[in-house]
C-alpha cells in the first residue's frame, strides 16, 4: 500500500472523528441556539410566506405512497448492473434477477392486501 493512500485515509479518519468534536466544543463555547430560529420551519431557505398558507394539511395517504415509492424505486439499482452485463451473466443472472423480482412482487402483494394502495 502506498504512503499516499495511508496519508489520505488518515485524513479521512481525522476529519470524520475530529471535526464533530470541534463542532461540539464550539457549540459549548459559542452562543446558545435559540429554539425559535428559522431552522425549524418547514422551508429553511427563508420562505416565510407561502402561497395559500403553509399549514395546509395533506392526507397521510400521500406520505404512504411516497414511502412505498422510495422502497420500490431504489431496487432499480440492482437491475442496471445486471442489464449492462445480461449476456455475459446468462441464465444464472436471469434466474437471480427473477428471484429478486419475485421477492419484490411478494412484497407488493403484501402491500396490496394490507390496503395501503387503496385511495380511500
Amino acid at each position: 500500500m502506498s504512503a499516499q493512500l495511508v496519508l489520505s485515509l488518515s485524513v479521512v479518519l481525522i476529519l470524520a472523528l475530529g471535526v464533530p468534536v470541534l463542532f461540539l466544543l464550539s457549540s459549548k463555547l459559542g452562543p446558545q441556539e435559540s429554539t425559535k430560529n428559522s431552522k425549524n420551519i418547514p422551508y429553511e431557505s427563508g420562505i416565510t410566506h407561502c402561497v395559500g398558507g403553509c399549514d395546509n394539511r395533506f392526507s397521510v395517504k400521500f406520505y404512504l405512497v411516497a414511502i412505498l415509492f422510495v422502497l420500490f424505486d431504489v431496487e432499480i439499482v440492482f437491475m442496471f448492473p445486471w442489464a449492462v452485463r445480461v449476456r455475459e451473466l446468462g441464465y444464472f443472472g436471469l434466474f437471480e434477477m427473477f428471484a429478486f423480482i419475485a421477492l419484490l412482487v411478494l412484497g407488493l402483494i403484501y402491500i396490496y392486501r394490507s390496503g395501503a394502495l387503496k385511495w380511500q
Partner: protein, 497 residues
C-alpha cells in the same frame, strides 16, 4: 444431502417470514393460528439445524452462487440453535401477551421471523458487507417490533431512539468496513487477517481505525458503557416479549459475529484495544450496577442489569487472545446462561403483567409468593441464576469467566466483576425478599395459571437448575460438559480450512 442441508435453517425461517407476511391479512386466520404457523417454521428450522449440532465442519454452501459470503460451521450451528430457541421461546412466553386487543397482528410474527433470519445470517456471514446487511435486516425488524404495541404511550419514543442511534452505529460499521476495505482490498473474514499479518509489512493503522469503528458498533449493540443510554428506555418502551427477545437473542447474535471477526482476523489489532476495553468493562460494570440499584421497576431493573452482564461477557472477550479456546467457550456458555435466565425472567413478568395487570414495580411484588407460589419460586430461580449463586447455570457461567480472567492475568477485571456480583445480589435479592417476607396487600383473588407460558417458563427454570447442578446427580445424561465441549469444538471450527 448436499449444500442445501446447510442452508435449510435459514431457508425455513426466511420462507416462513414471507409466508406469514402474505398470510397476515387473511381474515379467517386468528392471531394464535398465525403464531402456530410461525412456531411450525421455527421448529422445522431448529430440527434441520440440530442435525449438524456438535459436528466439526466448515462449509461454504453454494460457493458459486454466494461466493463464500455465507458459511456454515459448527460455530454457526451452535449459535443458530440458541437464536432459534430464543425465537421459539419468545412466541411461547408471549402466547397470552400477543392478543388482538393489544393490536398485535400477524405481521408481528413475520417481523419476528425476519429479525431471526437477519440474526442467523449475521452469525453465518463470512464477509463484512453481508454481515452489515444481516445486521440491518435484524435491526429494521426490531425497530418496528418495538413500536408495535399501541397501548404503550412510550413506544414511538423507544422505537425512534433505537432507530436513530441504531442507524448511526450502523453507519459507523460501514465506515469501518470501508477503511478495512481500503487498507486490505478485501472484506472477507479470514482474508483480512492474512492481509494484516505483520509479515506483509503493511501499515495497518487504518485497519486499526476501521476495526475500532466496528468495535464501537458492537459495543453499541450490546449496550456497553459509553453507548448504553438507549437500553433502559428502549427496553421499557417495547412490549415485554420483545424486550426478552432483544435482551437475549440480539446480544447473542452480535457477540457471535464479533467473536468470529476477532478470532479470525483481528488477533493483532486486539492488542491495541486492551486498555480501551478494560476501561469500558470497568465503567460498564460500575454504571450498570448504579443504574440497576436506582430502578424501582422490575422491567427497568432487568434492562439495567443486562448492562452489567454485558460487562461480564466483555471480560472473557478481552482474555480471548491469551487463553483462546477456553475464553471463547466461556463466552458461549455464559451467553446460554444469560439467555436462559433473562428469557425466563422477562417471560415470567410478561405473563404476570398480561394476566394480573401489575405495574411491575417492586412494591407490586410484596407478598407475591402467597398468591402465586409457583410463579414466585421460578422468579426466584431466575434471580438466583442472574445473581450467579451456586446451583444455577449463572454460577457456572460466571465461574468460567472469572477463572478465565484470573488465568489470563486480568486480576483487576476479575476483582471488579466479583464486586459487581456482590452488589448485584442486593438488587436481585430485594425482589425475593419482597416476595417472601411480606404479607400480600393488593393481590387477593388472581386467576389460576393457564395456558402454555407457565409450563414453558417452568421448563426454562428446570433448564437453569439442570445447567447449574449438571450431571452430578444423573450420570451419563448430557449436561454442561456436553455444551462446553461443543462450544470448544465450535471455536475450533472457525479455523478449519
Amino acid at each position: 444431502m448436499g449444500d442445501i442441508s446447510y442452508l435449510l435453517p435459514l431457508l425455513f425461517v426466511g420462507v416462513g417470514a414471507v409466508v406469514l407476511m402474505l398470510l397476515s391479512y387473511t381474515k379467517s386466520l386468528s392471531i394464535s393460528s398465525i403464531a402456530k404457523i410461525a412456531l411450525g417454521f421455527l421448529v422445522l428450522a431448529f430440527i434441520s439445524n440440530v442435525y449438524y449440532f456438535g459436528e466439526l465442519h466448515k462449509v461454504y454452501p453454494y460457493e458459486n452462487v454466494f461466493f463464500g459470503m455465507i458459511v456454515s460451521d459448527t460455530y454457526s450451528v451452535y449459535f443458530n440453535s440458541i437464536l432459534l430457541v430464543g425465537a421459539i421461546a419468545t412466541i411461547l412466553i408471549g402466547w397470552d401477551y400477543f392478543r388482538p386487543d393489544r393490536r398485535f397482528t400477524g405481521e408481528f410474527f413475520s417481523l419476528l421471523l425476519f429479525s431471526t433470519f437477519g440474526m442467523m445470517l449475521l452469525v453465518q456471514s463470512a464477509e463484512l458487507l453481508s454481515a452489515f446487511i444481516a445486521l440491518e435486516i435484524a435491526s429494521l425488524s426490531l425497530y418496528v417490533m418495538i413500536g408495535f404495541q399501541t397501548d404503550n404511550i412510550r413506544r414511538v419514543e423507544a422505537s425512534y431512539r433505537y432507530l436513530v442511534l441504531g442507524s448511526l452505529s450502523g453507519v459507523l460499521f460501514l465506515f469501518g468496513t470501508a477503511l478495512i476495505y481500503a487498507s486490505t482490498k478485501t472484506t472477507f473474514l479470514g482474508n483480512i487477517g492474512v492481509e494484516l499479518l505483520p509479515q506483509t509489512g503493511k501499515d495497518i493503522s487504518l485497519a486499526i481505525g476501521g476495526a475500532t469503528l466496528i468495535l464501537i458498533t458492537f459495543l453499541f449493540k450490546i449496550s456497553a458503557f459509553p453507548f448504553q443510554n438507549w437500553t433502559i428506555d428502549v427496553y421499557d418502551g417495547s412490549p415485554l416479549p420483545v424486550s426478552a427477545y432483544m435482551a437475549s437473542t440480539f446480544k447473542v447474535a452480535v457477540f457471535a459475529f464479533m467473536l468470529r471477526f476477532v478470532a479470525m482476523d483481528l488477533g493483532y489489532i486486539k492488542d491495541y484495544w486492551d486498555g480501551l476495553l478494560m476501561g469500558v468493562i470497568i465503567l460498564t460494570l460500575a454504571y450498570g450496577t448504579f443504574l440497576a440499584l436506582a430502578q424501582n421497576n422490575l422491567k427497568r431493573m432487568l434492562a439495567s442489569s443486562s448492562i452489567v452482564h454485558t460487562g461480564y461477557l466483555l471480560i472473557a472477550f478481552v482474555s480471548i487472545d491469551i487463553i483462546g479456546e477456553s475464553a471463547s467457550s466461556s463466552i458461549i456458555y455464559y451467553l446460554i446462561a444469560y439467555f436462559l435466565s433473562a428469557m425466563g425472567a422477562f417471560g415470567l413478568i410478561s405473563y404476570i403483567s398480561s394476566s394480573d395487570k401489575l405495574r411491575l414495580t417492586y412494591e407490586d411484588f410484596k407478598g407475591f409468593s402467597h398468591v402465586r407460589p409457583y410463579m414466585s419460586a421460578m422468579l426466584s430461580i431466575f434471580m438466583l441464576s442472574l445473581a450467579g449463586l451456586p446451583g444455577t447455570i449463572g454460577f457456572i457461567g460466571k465461574f468460567y469467566i472469572f477463572s478465565g480472567a484470573i488465568e489470563a492475568g486480568y486480576t483487576v477485571l476479575a476483582t471488579s466483576a466479583i464486586l459487581a456480583t456482590f452488589i448485584s445480589i442486593y438488587y436481585y435479592f430485594k425482589l425475593i425478599a419482597l416476595m417472601y417476607f411480606y404479607p400480600s396487600p393488593i393481590l387477593s383473588n388472581v386467576p389460576p395459571l393457564k395456558g402454555l407460558p407457565p409450563i414453558f417458563i417452568g421448563f426454562i427454570a428446570i433448564a437453569v437448575l439442570w445447567g447449574g447442578i449438571g450431571n452430578t446427580f444423573i450420570a451419563f445424561f448430557p449436561s454442561i460438559d456436553f455444551l462446553i465441549d461443543v462450544a470448544k469444538l465450535s471455536h475450533r471450527s472457525l479455523f478449519l480450512q
